[in-house]
């Protein structure tokens, strides 16, 4: 048998490196209730008969223990142990090399890029009305944020005008969402059953869409199918006729921002019996999705799969495509539109993931701000912009980012990490280990039950509601009463950053101009 790429000469010859985090106890306040030892799922805390002790090497700073301690007696600190300072070979690089030489493996990580690349969003400011036109009061006057997802027509023909035109009538299939914000794709597998359920309940209440992720749809979730975008990724997990005909929209996942060019990755630790059933792979095996779809090797193959899905759903359901933002994103998006897609999701390089090689997560892709600008611009030049709805993802952190990305050309944004944070996630970047102490990114039943579905779904609803209100506040200040008038309205943005080339690429004027 040919062994897996014999990379490790010998694995597990680990270096002695200091732990990244230190658990500090306030021994005076500690009442030895031992709640922390039960709450920690990473095996960092235990009781030695006398006091709580910490194995600092296991701590990932998820803060579960600290937040669950009734005495607030725990503090997690980033270990101040330092190597001799070196600007170039900083602590991070040294730790990476120690880890790699010790294990011979490819470093896995989760969540989104955590390197200090510049945020273009933070260099953009939004306009407001003063004197020359009035601002609008969102509390007392209507400001509309509804969006329609799907293909539109270049024009309506006269016969349609004379009848009651509804969306169903000889018009490409479209979905109505109440605000320009949807929950992106997080598979059951990468996140828990309870987390998925919380998201879908919230999507239904809010009246928006949530992505299924590439793991298929658990049978219990079919009651929310009208609010779910079914993802078809390269692994084709969970793709059967019930799924295809059930969901509100279908999205072919070509890539995601966190790992452009790579397929999905669910480590074997998270492939439980339930996941094995939904994905139809052996329990405990790594669910590695192939890198490309093996029936999509060229643009016309994508057109073929889109054609197959539309044929299978008898043209009733919007079919879209998700790609990672890469250098040639504009012509690629153009090809995707010409291949027949009804909506495109562009995922920027900062997008989150349940598991990805760290090196890909941190170094591959381009920012969503420029990607959306390029795609929007190109589609307009080719006069095919109205053929698709564009979703932007990849670190839309709060409503300001949402507003700016719509102004740069997107129809709506999709968010994942903020939704996880709303459910209690502390972004400790350990999702790939399947030990999430908050019950979000794990499949262990004892941990999953920590996530209260009612509470979590209400929190997501609150998040969406507050972002929508903030959107309306800013729209009002801008004197705009319908989000359609914000889309692509770059004129209402100004650039205040240090690099005028960025302003040029974005098509945004510099402040003062």
């Amino acid at each position: 048998m040919r062994e897996v790429i014999a990379m490790a000469v010998e694995s597990n010859i680990r270096h002695n490196i200091p732990p990244k985090f230190f658990v500090q106890f306030n021994r005076e306040r500690c009442i030895l209730c031992k709640r922390c030892t039960i709450n920690c799922s990473y095996g960092a805390l235990s009781f030695n008969g006398e006091r709580i002790i910490a194995d600092n090497y296991q701590c990932v700073m998820c803060l579960r223990c600290a937040l669950m301690c009734p005495q607030a007696a725990i503090k997690i600190e980033v270990n101040s142990f330092q190597y001799a300072p070196h600007y170039n070979y900083d602590d991070r690089i040294r730790r990476i090399i120690y880890e790699q030489s010790g294990s011979g493996g490819v470093l896995l990580a989760s969540s989104g890029c955590d390197l200090p690349y510049h945020h273009i969003f933070d260099d953009l400011l939004i306009d407001a009305c003063q004197v020359t036109n009035p601002s609008i009061d969102p509390l007392r006057e209507p400001i509309e944020t509804r969006v329609f997802v799907g293909q539109k027509l270049p024009q309506l023909t006269p016969e349609m005008d004379s009848r009651d035109v509804t969306l169903e009538m000889e018009f490409p299939p479209n979905l109505e969402i109440q605000e320009p914000l949807i929950v992106g794709h997080m598979s059951i597998g990468s996140i828990s059953y309870n987390a998925c359920l919380s998201i879908y309940k919230a999507a239904q209440e809010i009246g928006t869409l949530a992505g299924s992720g590439e793991g298929g749809l658990h049978k219990d979730f079919y009651k929310y199918k009208n609010y779910i975008i079914g993802e078809i990724a390269s692994g084709r997990f969970g793709v059967d006729m019930k799924y295809i005909k059930g969901v509100a929209a279908i999205e072919i996942k070509i890539g995601q921002g966190a790992k452009p060019g790579h397929g999905g990755h669910l480590p074997g630790e998270k492939v439980t019996k339930m996941i094995s059933e939904t994905r139809m792979i052996p329990q405990g095996s790594d669910a590695l999705s192939p890198y490309p779809h093996h029936d999509i090797y060229s643009i016309e193959d994508l057109a073929q799969l889109i054609g197959a899905l539309k044929e299978t759903t008898e043209y009733q359901v919007p079919v879209g495509v998700k790609i990672a933002a890469v250098h040639n994103v504009a012509p690629i998006a153009s090809g995707i539109v010409r291949a027949g897609a009804d909506f495109i999701t562009i995922d920027g390089f900062r997008g989150g993931t349940g598991a990805a090689p760290r090196i890909v997560r941190d170094h591959v892709g381009i920012p969503i701000e420029v990607a959306i600008t390029a795609v929007d611009q190109r589609l307009r030049e080719e006069q095919i912009r109205q053929n698709v709805t564009i979703f932007a993802g990849g670190s839309i952190r709060y409503s300001a980012d949402l507003i700016k990305i719509i102004a740069l050309g997107a129809d709506a944004a999709e968010v994942c990490t903020p939704v996880l944070i709303a459910m209690g996630c502390t972004v400790c970047q350990s999702c790939h280990r399947g030990l999430c102490a908050w019950g979000i990114a794990t499949q262990r039943a004892d941990l999953v039950q920590r996530l209260d579905v009612n509470l979590a779904s209400k929190r997501i609803m609150n998040l969406f509601k507050s972002w929508n209100e903030e959107l309306r506040e800013i729209l009002g200040a801008m004197g705009i009463d319908s989000v359609e008038s914000l889309r692509g309205n770059k004129d209402r943005l100004r650039y205040v950053g240090a690099n005028p080339k960025i302003a040029e690429v974005l098509g945004v004027k510099h402040a003062g101009e």
Binding site: Y297, S298, I299, E300, D301, A303, Q304, G307, N328, A330, P331, I332, S334, G335, R338, E381, E382
Partner: protein, 387 residues
């Protein structure tokens, strides 16, 4: 109304064009010439592979009375462009005959197509190189002119439209040849540039291509070292130039050339005999920058040393290619799908798909010298069975 140029490349920042497409072609082994209706029929059934933004054809054996002249078939914006080119050509070559290429009026607006049958002045030591330089000069220096093809006894017809529309525009049913190529295109850049369609041609090497060459940047820089100018921003261009470089200038055989473009992987080389191992390693060492990477299936037609049709796919077989032989054994067909073959030849004595990275080569008057089922350095006898 803003005037569109057919011949000049549009200013499209520096973007690469992505192509997805249908390809088709055939060769009559006994040299029997027939008109373009058969190849038009073949390409018409591959409609799902195109999006109406490009189509084209190449024909070989089409100018029996002028077979010794280079036929420069040009795409011109208008009369003034034609006059510019004519002035230029008069200084460089002897024009034996020139005529307008008759076209239909099914496409508006449309360029002017003109062809010149020329002889290279006797003093030129290398007439082929001379013509190549001439073509490159036309592309870079003469506004409004683009050379569709520059070989002897052959011609390329191509433009912006559905493949069948282009066939009708050029009236390809009025031309007869023993070998035809056809292409239907699905590009993703702004339409309007007729020169961007396939086949791509240099001298008598014509290429139709389905897929994307991911090694384009490397191939381009390699070719530039040899004096080729890759101006057409489409990856297919490098394929045509590589065949010209390796077959014509370096005088390598068709099989060796294909072994350079799609060399065996090292674990395949390890299973070979010592002599073969050595040879293949040398090829890779020396011609690394010429390797074609990425998904592709191509059909290449050429006149020399023997008129031949070559079909080749990438080493992982990421694009389809089917070959077939007619019931009477006289015609070798190649295309993206079997339906294109069956549409024009319901009875086929053999149908097969090649092994990845291994060429199917059919020679005029000879037959198949490589079936594309195993890696060869020397031509094999025809008539062997496909496993």
């Amino acid at each position: 109304m803003k005037k569109i140029s057919f011949a000049n490349m549009p200013h499209l920042k520096d973007d690469k064009v992505f192509d997805a497409c249908g390809i088709a072609g055939f060769i009559n082994l006994d040299g029997q010439c027939e008109n373009g209706s058969k190849v038009k029929q073949m390409i018409s059934i591959l409609k799902e592979r195109e999006n109406g933004l490009g189509g084209g054809f190449a024909v070989y054996g089409v100018w029996p009375e002028f077979q010794d002249q280079y036929c420069l078939q040009l795409l011109l914006d208008d009369e003034t462009a034609k006059e510019r080119v004519e002035e230029y050509l008069k200084k460089k070559v002897n024009i034996v005959k020139d005529e307008q290429c008759p076209v239909s009026h099914n496409i508006h607006p449309a360029p002017l197509i003109w062809r010149f049958f020329v002889d290279v002045p006797a003093k030129e030591e290398n007439p082929d190189d001379f013509i190549v330089e001439l073509v490159m000069a036309i592309h870079s220096e003469i506004a409004g002119a683009f050379c569709l093809s520059s070989g002897k006894n052959m011609a390329v017809f191509k433009g912006n439209g559905w493949a069948t529309e282009i066939a009708d525009f050029y009236k390809i049913e009025q031309y007869k040849g023993f070998m035809w190529l056809a292409h239907s295109r699905f590009p993703t850049n702004t339409p309007g540039w007729w020169g961007g369609a396939h086949p791509f041609n240099i001298l008598d090497y014509s290429v139709v291509h389905n897929g994307e060459i991911t090694s384009y940047g490397t191939n381009r820089r390699y070719l530039e070292m040899w004096g080729y100018k890759c101006k057409l921003r489409t990856d297919t261009e490098v394929i045509a130039y590589l065949f010209d470089l390796l077959m014509r200038k370096q005088k390598l055989s068709k099989l060796v050339t294909c072994n350079i473009l799609t060399p065996p992987y090292y674990n395949e080389i390890e299973r070979m005999t010592t002599g073969e191992q050595h040879f293949f390693k040398l090829l890779r060492m020396n011609y690394g920058p010429a390797i074609l990477n990425g998904p592709f299936s191509i059909l290449v037609a050429c006149n020399r040393p023997v008129p031949s049709l070559i079909g080749l796919t990438d080493r992982k077989k990421l694009r389809p290619l089917i070959a077939g032989i007619s019931g009477d054994g006289n015609t070798v067909y190649m295309s993206s799908e079997e339906s294109a073959l069956r549409y024009v030849s319901p009875e086929l004595s053999m149908v097969w798909a090649p092994t990845a990275g291994t060429p199917i080569i059919a020679e005029l008057g000879v037959g198949l010298i490589s079936q594309g089922t195993e890696r060869l350095l020397r031509p094999q006898k025809i008539g062997a069975e496909i496993a």
